[in-house]
């Protein structure tokens, strides 16, 4: 029963060479570092309204008059207005700030959705004006709510999608990121 030491030495497993793997890593890491985006940027398309020079007046457009929806971002809240009836039979809709002094973005989204659904499915233009003292970040948040309905309930969960219109010949509402008013024009107040 004596142990043969020479036999034990021969059973040892050969160690796995990691050098080819290291070489691969050393090639891949510099390549990935050069093509990695640490900041994911996007853009929002907008336009500024410039006063046109005086000339022959514009011809009246054929068909229904497009919606001229204006949104004023004030220090007290939002004010939506138009020359046409937009919300609950009125040409204006006021959305005051919440009790904690924050803008009521959820209400703005609901009102915009109601306007869009109420016979203005083809309108996609909104004119935005701002009062003095409004921050750029607040305007960007307003643009987000004006452009689409975010399907979240503000608590990290998903809210129910906007209701579909009745199937009696109405244009179906696009599901997912439902576009509201994605043509944004800024006007000087």
């Amino acid at each position: 029963m004596a142990i043969d030491r020479s036999k034990i030495r021969s059973v040892q497993e050969p160690s796995l060479s990691l050098f080819p793997m290291m070489n691969l890593m050393c090639i891949m890491i510099p390549f990935l570092l050069t093509s990695t985006a640490f900041f994911h940027l996007a853009v929002i398309d907008t336009q500024a309204i410039v006063q046109a020079e005086e000339g022959p007046g514009l011809e009246a457009p054929e068909g229904p008059i497009p919606l001229d929806l204006s949104l004023m971002i004030g220090l007290e809240g939002f004010q939506l207005s138009s020359s046409q009836k937009i919300y609950e039979g009125n040409t204006q809709a006021l959305i005051p700030k919440l009790g904690n002094g924050e803008y009521d973005f959820a209400r703005l989204r609901d009102v915009l959705y109601a306007i869009k659904k109420d016979g203005h499915e083809n309108s996609d233009t909104i004119y935005i004006g701002t009062a003095a003292g409004i921050s750029y970040a607040a305007v960007i948040t307003v643009l987000d709510y004006c452009r689409d309905i975010k399907l979240d309930d503000g608590k990290g969960g998903e809210a129910a999608p906007p209701p579909e219109p009745a199937a009696d010949g109405e244009k179906p509402v696009k599901k997912g990121p439902y576009l509201l008013f994605n043509k944004v024009f800024f006007q000087k107040v």
Binding site: I29, L32, S35, L41, A42, Y136, A137, I140
Partner: protein
């Protein structure tokens, strides 16, 4: 003593690279997650913290106006310094446009038009006219010279951004692309 020396000479020292491999693997996974295949890679300039947004449109190469915490620059050329987050009154002209910025944009546009004219001239003599480029919607795409990418610090008052926009509009550019940080 002599025995000890013989043993150290005969055996090669093995470098344990397993822990290094672990680091590299984690690094590789992180880099693969952030790997970007977009043509344009933009990084916010120093002193600019872009506002977050749900926008998903990828940026493109355009002339840019950067409004950082304390300065305004156009196409990487510093134009003026902001004092307390606003443009000093002396920089405004009677039309409420920012005069140095207006001048810089007009100069840039004039240069672009000059280059365009040169291209048209050389194209007319040297090469046959290329067919008009039409995008997916069947419309002729906007000339890049008539749009501006706006990289503005999120804490600024929108009044400042508006003044910059309407200054650019006075120079003939009315389309803007607000650069924002994507919400993940």
């Amino acid at each position: 003593m002599a025995r000890k020396i013989r043993r150290s000479r005969s055996g090669d020292a093995d470098l344990n690279i397993t822990s290094l491999m672990d680091i590299f693997t984690i690094l590789l996974v992180f880099l693969l997650q952030n790997y970007s295949v977009t043509e344009v890679k933009l990084t916010p300039p120093k002193g600019v913290s872009l506002p977050p947004s749900s926008a998903q449109i990828e940026p493109e190469v355009l002339p840019d106006i950067t409004i950082s915490k304390d300065s305004i620059s156009f196409d990487n050329t510093p134009i003026l310094t902001l004092v307390g987050g606003v443009v000093e009154e002396r920089y405004y002209d009677q039309n409420k446009t920012i005069e140095p910025l207006l001048k810089a944009i007009r100069e840039k546009l004039a240069t672009q038009e000059y280059i365009q004219q040169l291209r048209e001239k050389s194209g007319a003599t040297a090469a046959p006219a290329t067919p008009e480029v039409v995008d997916d919607d069947g419309e002729t795409p906007e000339q890049p010279g008539h749009q501006i990418l706006l990289l503005a610090h999120k804490e600024h008052s929108f009044k400042l951004i508006e003044d910059v926009m309407f200054t650019a509009a006075a120079a003939g550019i009315s389309k803007f692309k607000f650069a924002v940080m994507k919400n993940d």
